[in-house]
């Protein structure tokens, strides 16, 4: 096991796998950060990933182009965001219940529609996807180069997204508005910010990011859609949001940590083949729980998260 530290090629492989496994988590976690910063608890990240994955498969299947898949996947993720915002922001349905409802709905509807759309070939399909390409010069750096700069398009998009959301939240007046709405909607409202508009925008944008996470699963990893392929990634991302203290950078680091352990368990499966692989598969979930438990100090979520805002009740 320890040997990978000394073998340059193995180490590069390992780190590169870690990064790839954390990509869907990072996308979903960015979506979670955005919507929770605006005060909407987003347990439906799981459903948004799944919706995005299904959209990606449908788009790539009919348009026969990975970019078509990406587009439809993002749209499906946004649609899930619209449903969450409609229920949680406009109607004032408890956001946890709304999120659970979306997760169960997406699970059922994608299982049903995938049979209709892909039929019998669902599991043998080879959809068009994104291929890795190396950025010139940068990818020549030892270890870091191939790991960071020898990936496919969506990985670069992911890094750009983290940076963009960070800049948006902390460097722009709109970002200030989002944070104000998440901390004190009544004050933000007094300052002339439309609380519901901000929340709608953040939840829908969050759906787009989480949907991109699903796109990555389909268009860069497995090239087909399978039922319930999100497999709890949305919930791990949710843990990462808390661990990263509701910041895009922090959430990304937490996701990279989870991706690292996911890669580690794959490696352990390979090394200890006498132990059934199911034993290792549960490791990332255990690590997520341990990370939440071992968190130093109490996490301080945005003050208004999960609360429906009504003007009259100010």
């Amino acid at each position: 096991m320890i040997d990978i530290l000394f073998d340059l090629r193995l180490l590069t492989d390992f780190l590169s796998t870690s990064l790839r496994l954390s990509v869907p988590l990072v996308f979903a976690a960015i979506g979670g950060v955005l919507s929770e910063r605006s005060g909407v608890f987003n347990i439906s990240l799981e459903g948004m990933i799944l919706a995005g994955a299904f959209g990606a498969a449908v788009g790539a299947f009919f348009l026969n182009d990975p970019f078509g898949g990406l587009l439809i996947g993002i749209l499906f993720g946004m649609a899930a965001g619209v449903v969450l915002a409609g229920m949680g922001v406009s109607l004032g349905v408890n956001q946890i219940v709304a999120g659970i409802a979306i997760n169960l709905f997406v699970l059922g509807i994608t299982a049903f529609l995938s049979r209709i759309v892909f039929g019998a070939q669902a599991n043998t399909l080879q959809l068009p996807g994104f291929r890795a390409f190396s950025l010139p010069v940068l990818s020549a750096i030892p270890i870091v180069g191939p790991v960071l700069f020898g990936q496919d398009l969506l990985v670069y998009v992911m890094f750009a997204s983290v940076l963009a959301v960070h800049m948006f939240l902390y460097w722009t007046p709109w970002g200030l508005a989002v944070r104000a709405v998440g901390e004190n909607p009544a004050a933000a409202d007094s300052a002339g910010i439309s609380v519901n508009t901000v929340r709608y925008a953040c939840v829908i944008a969050g759906g787009a990011f989480a949907g991109m996470g699903g796109c990555y699963l389909v268009l860069s990893q497995v090239f087909l859609f399978s039922e319930h392929m999100s497999a709890g990634k949305g919930f791990i991302a949710l843990a990462a949001v808390i661990l990263g203290r509701w910041t895009p950078g922090g959430a990304m680091l937490a996701c990279l940590l989870f991706g690292f352990f996911d890669a580690l368990q794959l490696r352990l499966q390979f090394t200890y083949q006498e132990i059934p692989h199911e034993f290792f598969v549960m490791l990332p979930y255990v690590i997520s729980i341990l990370a939440l438990v071992g968190l130093v100090g109490k996490p301080q979520p945005p003050a208004a998260v999960g609360r429906h805002y009504r003007r009259e009740a100010k």
Partner: protein
Amino acid sequence: MAQVVRLLFALKSVWAVLAALVCGSFLIMLAGSDPIAAYTALFHGAFVDYWGFAATLVKTCPLLLAGLAVVLPLRAGLFNIGGEGQIYIGALFATIVALYVPELPGPIHIALASIAGAIGGALWALLPAILKAYQRINEIIVTLLMNFVALHFVSFVVSGPMMEEGAPYPYSPEIPLGLFLPHILPRTDAHLGVVIAVVFALILYVVFRRGVAGYTLSTVGENPHAARYAGMSVERHIIVSFLVAGAFAGLAGTFEVLGHRYRLFHAFSQGYGYDGIVVAFLANLNPLFAIVSALFLAGLRSGANVMQRAVGVQVTVVEAIQGLVIIFVAISLAFRYRAGAVGQFLARRAAVEAALDKPGGDGAALDKPGAGGAAP
């Protein structure tokens, strides 16, 4: 007029189901079949046909118990979304007792295995409860993540230490014949588990209505500060409600093994724990209505096979319809005649959180129960 309106609001779960069925009929048309024929086949197969009804009862048992596992902690304003994991661990504990405890007289051995299953489920619920009560760690995320741990752990056990020799895929050896739960309808699979589940639902209903425990639990959820002032421990209520809920879910897993499958299979539950959430909300968090909603959702599932044979619509359409049901039920929560029951309970979660933030705090900083969670 007011009474008519009140009645319309009271029946909102029924409207939600009807809306879901109407949307579902479009899905059935999308699949190229006649919705009327499909629904007729489904409901006839689920509730009218003798064997079909028995199959519905078989599925009612885990759904109802999983539903109760969601209803109970919500009384104190907490979400237990870990039913799925608790089902697996309960089934594991029960199977271990069934297989490895030297054979006892049937009823005693069944009771022992059931108690073990309940304990297994309760233990799996204990960790999120402790973390919630003493560390303020979000119980929703912990229970969700633990579902996956339990699922994979049971898969590990039945594909390794407990795997039947020479089995084509992961499952445990069969439990002894003496441990099979007795059947309640002659010549069918319907087993005693469903009766026990209904009894638990009735007990829970009575406890909520009349029992001291039901009253203190509601008080903790409704006004944790007052509860504390009156000497009730918020932390203890959280932990006990999760333990009992875990025991219910554990029994759901136990009865699947002892009453239906007679072995521990890998991934046997197929989402009963999550469907329990649908059962609970469709029943407006009332244990008595939970019997009806569990029966209905079980009927959807068992009738789906009949429908697939009769009109050729994929069974998965039922999962989509079930998803629609929960979406419409969630939407219906927004429409309430004064404060709906669900809204009240959800508001409690916010109040409990506030109380946990200030242990032993006085009433001065009390959050109004309506201030968070859901609209008053």
